[in-house]
Subunit: 251 residues, 2 copies
């Protein structure tokens, strides 16, 4: 999918509100229209654009009413820097993304052992240990050290470009995996309120701590949210420490 098309679509506040709503539950045109305070005609127009781009899909229920939902996973990344304006979007045909076979993924970060750095220093920092040892500000022209530094920098550049691609793939994988887990959780909780319970868990996993924070996240009333959280607590999935909810499994 073309990133430009996607940015054009997402550049509209009402279309973003529609997507936010549909990410909570499938909706009919009239529901969306009332929720947004926008005419049904305008809603239909937005939905058509979103449907054309494959972001949204529609089904017809038993009463032959058409309802809309988010079609599938999509991820867009935009990088803006003094050297780059890059957009990348991934719109896989199936949920099994690029890393279908990936079972476990982790990030290894090796911290730099340095004294408190001066964050406001405007100088360019050396990119690795070796270059730092050289202490070559890069002024001289045919300095062998400068040459070595150039090849070190080029190697670092290649490593970073590779890493960026890998991270991007990894993030798409995580996104697909999250959707799978939410599907499984919804199914495991059962037809009726499965999705709601799954979203309560996701809200807590994603950093919502208090009942009211969770309620805001899942867009439900505090009472309904409190009942749902209590149910999850009784099933041993959540625990409350003071006012704060957390996943039992997370330690």
């Amino acid at each position: 999918m073309d990133s430009a098309v996607l940015l054009d679509l997402l550049g509209n506040e009402n279309r973003r509100r529609i997507l936010r709503l549909l990410a909570r539950r499938p909706c009919y045109v009239t529901e969306i229209s009332e929720y947004l305070g926008v005419s049904p005609k305008a809603v239909i127009d937005h939905l058509r654009k979103l449907e054309d781009a494959g972001l949204v899909e529609s089904r017809v229920d038993e009463q032959r009413r058409k309802y809309f939902s988010i079609a599938r996973n999509l991820r867009l990344e935009v990088n803006v820097s003094p050297y780059e304006f890059g957009t990348k979007s991934a719109y896989p045909a199936s949920r099994s993304l690029d890393m279908t076979r990936c079972r476990y993924l982790s990030l290894h970060i090796e911290p730099e052992e340095v004294d408190e750095p001066d964050d406001d220093t405007p100088t360019v920092e050396p990119v690795d240990g070796d270059a730092a040892d050289g202490e070559n500000p890069g002024g001289d022209d045919v300095d062998p050290d400068a040459d070595e530094s150039l090849s070190d920098l080029t190697a670092e550049l290649a490593r970073l470009e590779t890493l960026e691609n890998e991270l991007s793939m990894a993030q798409r994988w995580v996104q697909g995996r999250l959707t799978d887990v939410m599907d499984s959780l919804s199914a495991a909780f059962g037809e009726r309120d499965g999705r709601f319970y799954a979203e309560l868990l996701a809200a807590v996993a994603n950093g919502a701590r208090t009942t009211s924070a969770v309620a805001r996240r899942v867009d439900a009333s505090p009472t309904v949210t409190a009942d749902g959280l209590a149910q999850l607590e009784s099933e041993g999935l959540l625990e409350q420490v003071g006012e704060e909810w957390r996943l039992t499994a997370s330690e």
Copy 2:
């Protein structure tokens, strides 16, 4: 920075073209206007919006002409899924992002040992090995296996949410690091054409293989590009295998 403001800004094709141009080189209003085929008045209007958001900044040169450039690193991520419409943007005050002290970062992926999967299977796949062993489709209500599966799923959910945040931080770190390396390379190559050489290397590192592909990427004429690539080859940073360029350091 607010993701909504950013999406509104990036939702305009001409603003994206301005950013793409400024990511190649700082420009005056008249240059941008000619390049885009858009009136100076409209360009000034776009630049003002981009400047207000902190994406673009301006300086005045010796001839007292105002020129514009990209202010600093910014990263925007948008996730669309049946359970989420999420936007995240990071706009650090300094280039030393969240992981200033990070020296080395790598991704560890453990592949799943499975037979050729059927990609079109519409069923929800189990999210980890244990759940797969259970083979519980989640129909029964008070099955102890189902309970275990729920807690496994919740643990997986928590792990994925954490991983997503870490990957996001890691990518912002990579982006900052890339800018630092490009700054260092530009400086190491020297004032005059430093940036151009750095961009040639970045284009090759980023997957442009032939001279014409690199020329398109850096938006320079094939002749100028070929000269630059030959210069980098003579410095031992690039090598040509058949028609294809690659970094000497990359093996």
